[in-house]
């Protein structure tokens, strides 16, 4: 298992487990509402043409997040599906 890192560094196509959501306030609330609770599997899907935002697969839905927000989500990457 790889070392812990932030979600913005997850390359498209790669999978990870959410470890911790560090955002606070309304942003934290929104991210939790999406189901980004510790232990959730997340996959990076697409970067937008200019590199930000990035689309992620979260619990079967495709969700786009900006880098400011993904910087505050700590993940543990893993191989395979």
């Amino acid at each position: 298992m790889h070392a812990c890192m932030t979600l913005d560094r997850l390359l498209p196509g790669c999978f990870a487990l959410v470890e911790e959501v560090q955002a606070q306030g309304i942003t934290r609330r929104r991210l939790l509402d999406l189901g980004l609770v510790p232990g959730t599997i997340i996959q990076a899907i697409h970067r937008s043409p200019l590199g930000d935002p990035t689309a992620y697969q979260i619990r079967g839905a495709i969700i786009a997040l900006r880098q400011e927000d993904t910087l505050q989500i700590r993940i543990i990457p893993f191989e395979g599906t």
Partner: protein
């Protein structure tokens, strides 16, 4: 969660029992909800094959790609406009000939009844003609554009546009969902201002609302199409000229989008300072659009609604214009005096007094700017049958000395001038703040005047004309 929320007492109890700090307690509640949901889903829900998902990813690989993302957006926009321009040509002239045939019959009817001249003037030349113009110029492009646009909406493409454009909106200090409200603006700016509610941050919502008018709505782009066809396409149906007319309209729409970014940037650095808030956008799965439903929905809900509103406004506006054109003081009609008063200012903008007056009288709805202008021109000079864009060309270019510069300035001012009355009213209702409503009026108007004056003097200075 607010203190008064019915659940907040429950939350406090749970904190007491679990001994966790408030934030942790909320987290563990959300976590357990999701774990339970996951467990239930795993036991009961069968996931469909991954074939559809793979197709979605393949489509996204094109629509969201670094290379193809933006070109595909531009191509789709141009294609929709092209189909609209080509498709609107014939029905427009059929409607015009039909409605003017009816006008002749009505005129004969009034003559038979021995009606007074002013009755004919007021009802036929004023009310009937402006309504006829609104229908024949506006209806065909709307009836083609709306369904095409709804198809894109239904297919799930619009959130992808927001995804592709978010980077620019972030740089401008605005919200990515502004791309969606901007797209709504193609339909109707007033509706788009209501749709700004999808943006949570009040600052970003206001930026989206104030800049929405730079997207030419359905009441304005038929005017753009008519102008582009008039000055570039002519009335010929040659492929090349039609393509040029399409690209011109696309260019003006692009200019509107660029101005949206520039003004959003300006607002978020001056009047509406602040940091961009978080952006979370779902990219829904692609669906094959339900074509029948799309056509019915867009024709019934949108086209007919917008057209009905335009006609309701056009009839009294036509009547007022006719009265102004036929009330004489010292041998000059009120309309001509008003136009003459505006003319010195308008000529700096590359327009003439009548054009600026048409924009002012068109405040209730943008659909009626062109009909008012035509009526103002026609009632001043010789009466003529206006059955096609060729006749319009004759009226504008030969009788009133329009050049291609007049055409460009007219189109520029069509894209950037005050929002229509309905849009201003809606903004006032949404924001409940007269200051911002006034800013929504001032911002595009100043931009438009500045652009028109610069283009006019630049062209004259460089002796391009």
């Amino acid at each position: 969660m607010s203190q008064n929320h019915p659940l907040s007492s429950l939350l406090r109890q749970s904190q007491n029992i679990s001994g966790l700090e408030p934030a942790k307690a909320t987290d563990s509640i959300v976590q357990s909800i999701y774990h339970t949901a996951q467990k239930i889903a795993r036991e009961t829900v069968q996931m469909p094959g991954s074939r559809i998902q793979n197709l979605d990813r393949r489509l996204d690989n094109i629509f969201l790609s670094r290379i193809w993302g933006y070109p595909v957006m531009l191509i789709l926009l141009t294609m929709i406009l092209w189909i609209t321009i080509i498709g609107a040509n014939y029905p427009s002239s059929w409607l015009a000939s039909g409605l003017f045939w009816l006008e002749e019959r009505l005129t004969q009817g009034l003559q038979f009844l021995d009606a007074a001249a002013w009755v004919h003037g007021f009802f036929i030349e004023g009310v009937y003609r402006s309504v006829a113009w609104v229908i024949s110029v506006m209806l065909p492009p709307m009836a083609i554009f709306f369904p095409l646009f709804t198809l894109l909406e239904d297919a799930g493409y619009l959130p992808r546009v927001a995804f592709n454009l978010d980077y620019f909106f972030k740089k401008a200090g605005a919200h990515g969902k502004q791309a969606l409200t901007m797209c709504m603006g193609f339909g109707c700016n007033a509706a788009a201002i209501v749709s700004c509610r999808i943006i949570d941050s009040p600052r970003e919502r206001l930026i989206a609302a104030l800049t929405n008018n730079f997207t030419p709505c359905n009441g304005r782009f038929p005017t753009l199409i008519a102008m582009a066809t008039l000055f570039i396409g002519g009335s010929s149906l040659v492929l090349g000229t039609q393509l040029m007319a399409t690209l011109t309209v696309a260019g003006f729409i692009l200019l509107g989008i660029i101005l949206t970014f520039v003004l959003s940037y300006f607002l978020s650095r001056t009047l509406l300072k602040g940091e961009p808030s978080s952006f979370i956008l779902e990219l829904p799965p692609y669906r094959s659009p339900r074509i029948g439903q799309v056509i019915i929905r867009s024709v019934m809900d949108r086209t007919l609604f917008v057209l009905a509103r335009a006609i309701i406004v056009a009839a009294p506006a036509g009547a007022i214009t006719w009265i102004l054109a036929n009330t004489y003081i010292d041998g000059t009609s009120l309309l001509s005096s008003f136009a003459a008063f505006l003319h010195p200012f308008a000529s700096h903008m590359g327009l003439d007094g009548f054009i600026l007056m048409a924009f002012i009288l068109g405040l209730p709805a943008n659909e009626i700017v062109l009909p008012i202008l035509i009526m103002a021109y026609v009632s001043g000079g010789s009466m003529m049958e206006l059955e096609s864009l060729g006749d319009l060309r004759q009226l504008f270019v030969v009788e009133h000395g329009w050049t291609w510069l007049t055409g460009i300035c007219f189109m520029l001012f069509t894209v950037c001038h005050w929002p229509c009355g309905t849009t201003l009213y809606t903004l006032q209702k949404e924001q409940k703040n007269a200051y911002w409503t006034f800013m929504a009026f001032l911002l595009p108007t100043c931009t438009g005047i500045l652009l028109c004056v610069s283009v006019n003097y630049l062209v004259q200075f460089m002796h391009l004309l």
